[in-house]
Every structure is written in structure tokens, then in C-alpha cells.
Amino acid sequence: MSLPLDRTAELLQSSAEHLVLVAVTMAIAASVGIPLGVWLHRHPRVGRWILGLTGVTQTIPSLALFGFLIPLHLAIGGVVLVGGIGPRTAIAVLVLYALLPVVRNTVTGLQSVDPRVREAGLAMGLTPSQLFWKVELPLAWKIILAGLRVATIATVGSATVAAAIDAGGLGKFIFRGLRMNDHGLILMGALPSAAIALLLDSLFGGLERLRIPTGSRLARPVRPAMRAAVPVLAALACFLGWRVGGFPGSPRQPVRVVVGAKDFTEQLLLGEWVAQTLEREPGLEVVRRFDLGGNLAHDALIAGDIDVYVEYTGTAWMAILREAYRPGASDMVARVRGAYRERFGIEVLEPLGFDDSFALLVRADTAKALPKRTFSAAIPQARGWRAAFGHDFLVRADGYPGLARTYGLQLAESPREMDLALTYQALVGGQVELIAGNATDGMISRFGLVQLEDDRHFFPPYEAVPVVRHDALRRVPRLRSLLEGLAGGLDRRTMRLLNDAVDHRHREPREVIREHLTAGRP
């Protein structure tokens, strides 16, 4: 696989970020985990408890942990330690995962020291601290080192998840590759990550073969220096972690605007659209924080890590505000806006011009035979249709079951269940006459499909709306008018074409938007 030059540079940069994530994580995990293990070994009752607890944290999915930590601004003396998006939170999560093997092996290692040897040490007149530094620690060291090794290798793997909260590293390529279904990109992230893991593993292999020469200089005070080194190293690791955590820049400076985006193609395009529009304004500095998984973009907005991103009214209403949608409800934008102001102090701006809700799709020839392109008008003919749906759509109350009830839909046979992407193939190939996709899927325009209008408003509207922090609007007076200038600027058809350019033609969102902004609109 030969890469263009800029890709090579990006790969090196990401590998370096990845290594730094792992190094900082392990420095903290070791300087916390080993002393913790020593303490737990001396307090076995608490030990069992804490080991169980660290075991439990390992079973929490990392995205869930991110979700807990992002809104949690934990600061000491104005220095944010944990919280928000970026490397700091990622490292906090990675440290939690790395702790168990380090702590457990420290306890196991100390337990493995022969009690007769410990007793001999005491009987010879070693002080408790001499016994620890000269006998117990050196004898437990191999097992402790093995724990560090396991934790390090695992961290190399789990650090790829850090990309979900904009912490950089090789995960960027993997996430991007998964999204664009591009195996080359996935490998670009996975192979270097595997190489780093192998490299570090052999490094530890070499370390384990070294015998620690603690015995030969018994009388001389070498050990106190080592003892002093531990807190120094710990402080260094924390400082480094904090510095590294700081690299993406703070959103608090007056002319800087941080634009966020979720982790799928359309969101990256919308993020770019907002970012590049703002960048055209002189004196405005734009920071991008894209690829935020799940509802992390909302958490980041609340936490003040980003100033603006594009949300969908349906997601805002149901997933974030946790309100129920009543089919036919009108003016969702106004309802969401009111609730956002009241609950979050977040401003919801005017819609961008397209609705990314569920779309009922048919082939052009099927559409031609209909009197109108609405779903109501299609019901009489649908008795002869076959349909294929994705699993979600098939079982959700706001999917097929509710749809069939609302419209009185009856099909020729019960709908088939298949992968969403495959339903398009089935429709184009003439095996079915009806599928349900997302209204802005690039495949709709590529295959010349027709969307039947949901004229009874069964599906909640997913209008794309910029959501922005009030303090950002106050801080940057031009921001409101710039963002309002986006209203109505993207219709459904344009959005499909833009999505297709990225998903199908594998072009970079940044390029696609740049072209669109220079060629398309003034």
C-alpha cells in the first residue's frame, strides 16, 4: 500500500499521538496502580473489595464511560483534570482500564513472595522499608512487570477508541474507514496499532530478562534515591498528561469558535459547512472537533467544549429531551427551541433546509404509476408490493408497525428483514417495491429512487438545525448572523449529492464542501 505524502505525514502524526496516549496512560496507571497494589496487599480486606471494583470498571463499555466523564468537569485549582472531550478524558478512561492488571499483578506479585524469605529478612534485622525495597519488590517485580505489559498492550488497542472523543491517535483512521466502508483506511489505523503493540511487547520482553541488581549495594544508600524517584515520576506523568491534554486548545478565547460534529458522513459535511462559512470571516478562528460518537456532541456542547454543531430535531426531541413524539405534531423546531432554552440555555437556530427523517423509497417506474408521490396515494397499489426493511425499522413502534397502522398499509407479503445497505440492492434489483432509508442517503440520488412523502406526518421530522451556546453568541457578536445565514441553504437533494461524494466516491468532506461553497452558492 503506497500512500500519498500528506497521508504519510498524517499517519506519522497519528502514530505519535497514539504512542503519547499509551505512554501517558501507562505512566499514570503505573504510578497509581503499583502503590495502590502495595497498599491493598497490606490491607487484604479492603483489597478484595477494590479489586472487585476495578474489575467492574473493565466491564463498562468505553463509550459509556466517556458519556459519564464528559459532563463531569473535575478541576483542581482551575486546572481541569477530567471532563470534556479531548485527550484528558480519553486518558482518564484508558487509565481506569489499565489499572486492573497493574493493581492485581502487584498484589499477586507481593503475595508470591515466600513467607519464609520475608521472615528471614525480618529476622536478619531488615527494617520494614528495607524489606519492601530490597526483598519484596524485587521478588514481585517480574509479576508486576507482566501486569504492566498486559496493560500496555491492551491500552494500545483500546486507545483507538479515543478518536471517538477527538483525542487523536490511530483510531481516527479506523473510525473513518468504518464509516466510509473503506478497508484501506481501517488497515491504515489497525496495522500501525498492531505494530506498536508488537514493538512494546518485545520491549517488555527484554525488560523481563533483566535481573534487578538490588542486592550488591546493600549498605550504600542507593535505594532512597529510587524511593524519591517514584513521586517525582508520578508528578511528571501527571504534568505530562495535563500538558498533552491541553493540545487541542481551549474554546474560551474571544475570537475562537469551536465547531463540533458527530461521527458520520453527513455530520462531517455539515461541520465543514459551518466551519468553512465561519472561516471566511476575517478575524475568526475556527477549531474543529469532529467525529464525536453517540450523543457526545451534545454532552460536549453542554460542557462548553464546543460552541456549535448541527443537531436533528427528532434526535433532540426524543433522544436528548426524552420527550415522546405524537405523530402529526407540528412545529417541532419551535418546541425543541423552547425546551433547549429552558433546560440547557442553548440556542436552536433556523433549520438548514432539509429533513433527514425516515424516507419511504420506491423505484422511478413504480412512482410513475402513482397519482401523487405521497404515501397515502400509494396505499391502494401497495397491496401488490413487496418490501424489505432493516431490523430497527421493522421492530420499532415508530417504524413499520406504527406506519402500517397509521396508513392502513397492506402488502403482498410480510416484509423481509435485511441489512439496510442491502435493501437498496433489493429495490434496484426488482426483488422488492418498497424500502425505508434515510432521506439524505446518497444512494437515493445515485439509483434515481423516489421518496414518497409522509403526508400524515407519521415519522418525526429530523430537521437539521444549528445548536449554539449562548455564551458563544455573546462572545462573538457576528456569530448569530453568520449562522442564521445558513438557514435554508441546503436542500434534501443537495445533501444527498454531498453524502454520495463522500460515501461513494471516497472524497474528503473538507474538499467536497470547499468545492460546494465556491461553485454552488455565493
Partner: protein, 252 residues
Amino acid sequence: MESPLVFRDVSYRLPDGRRLLEGLDLELGVGQTLVLLGRSGCGKTTTMKLINRLLEPTGGRIEVEGRSTLEWDIIALRRRIGYVLQDAGLFPHWTVRENVGLVPGLLGWEPERIQARVDELLEMLGLDPVVHAGRYPEALSGGQRQRVGIARALAADPAILLLDEPFSALDPITRRGLQAEFRALVHRLGKTMVLVTHDIREARALAHQVVLLHEGRAVFQGAPGRLESSDHPEVRAFLACLEDEGSVEDLT
């Protein structure tokens, strides 16, 4: 001259109230050997650990060189007492030289003096310093490890030498050889010693004074020659073993 070791009505109970030692009195002269005899679990090792304060008495008083063990600085006390464990208890991550040089090192001896002392002790115990000093315990035989254990205990010329069943983990042939050598060494050094054993033959060969413990109490106390005249059932049982063991060893 002051007695190196005195027990005055010493008792030891576990926190749950179980008695491991009850009302032991004894006094040991300089250069004398005390043998603690008894079955497993009779309180021999407990008695030993009370001397170097790995345990502290719950009743009575133990004096080492005229001072209660509780008045000693615990670290100084332990460095003043040599200790040989059943399976040597050598530090596996240190060489023979590092093991033997431990206590002199802790006491701040000059490196040259430690070096010379280690060489001297290894030779005294029949090990060639050139060959063995650089080895790790895993590279030694059981008998060699025990020799190193004794050398380590003697290194800083302790006031008292404690030996907890030092030869019991060895095979019978090695054991007999080492016991004989050890007897010769003891006579030459004239060390004050406490030896824990369940081997009555060893007891009779080395002891100036024998204490036979049974369920935490001394059921016999005195010169080894008087063992035969005791009619306590536990003493008789031990003497009977001696006859059995003798006949078994004659067969082999």
C-alpha cells in the same frame, strides 16, 4: 559474666486465647547450647521467635545480654542474633556473597571487610568462595544452601545463634554429614546457641541443656544425660523413637 539468654516465666498466647507457651524459665551460659525438643506444634518455633522478637511474650520477660527484649531496639536486637531457618530462607534474587554479607552490610562494615568475612565463613563451612560466592541459591544443592544459611547467620558474629530445625529438610546422608561437621564447628566457635529439633540424637550430641516441650509446657528440663531417668510419658515416647530410628538406620 552476664547470661546471654534468660527466660523468666514466659508465656505466649494467641489473640484468640490459645496457649502456645506457658510459664517457661531458663538460663543459658555463654557458649552453651540449648536444645528445644518436641513434636510439631508443641511451641518450639514460638519460643524461638520470642527471642528475636518476631513475636512478643504475653507474659513474663526474656532477657538478651541482661536486657529485656522489649527494651532493645528491635532492629539492633535482631542484628545481634543469628537466625538459621529450616530451608535456609535464602534470598533467591541475591548471590551467595550478597546473602552472607547482608547483616555486616546493614551494620555498615567496609566492603573489603565484608568480602574477607564472607570468604572466611564460606571456607569455614566447606564452600569454595571462588566457585560458590557468585552463585544464586537456585544453583546450589540443599546441603550447600544450608551451609550458606549458617554462614549468613554467623556473619556479624552474633551473641546468640538460633537454629530452627536446620537439617530437617535434607536427605539423611547429607544430614548426617552436615550434623557431624556442625558439631565440630560449634565446639570450635563456642557460640551460645538455641537449636530447635525433633531429632533426639541431635539433641544429645549438641545440648548442654534440653527443654522438651509438650503442648506449650516444659515437661523436661535439664542436662541431656538425665533424659533417660525421666518417666514423663512424652520423654519416654521420644526415647522410644530413638530406638526405632536407630534400628531403621541400621537397616539402610
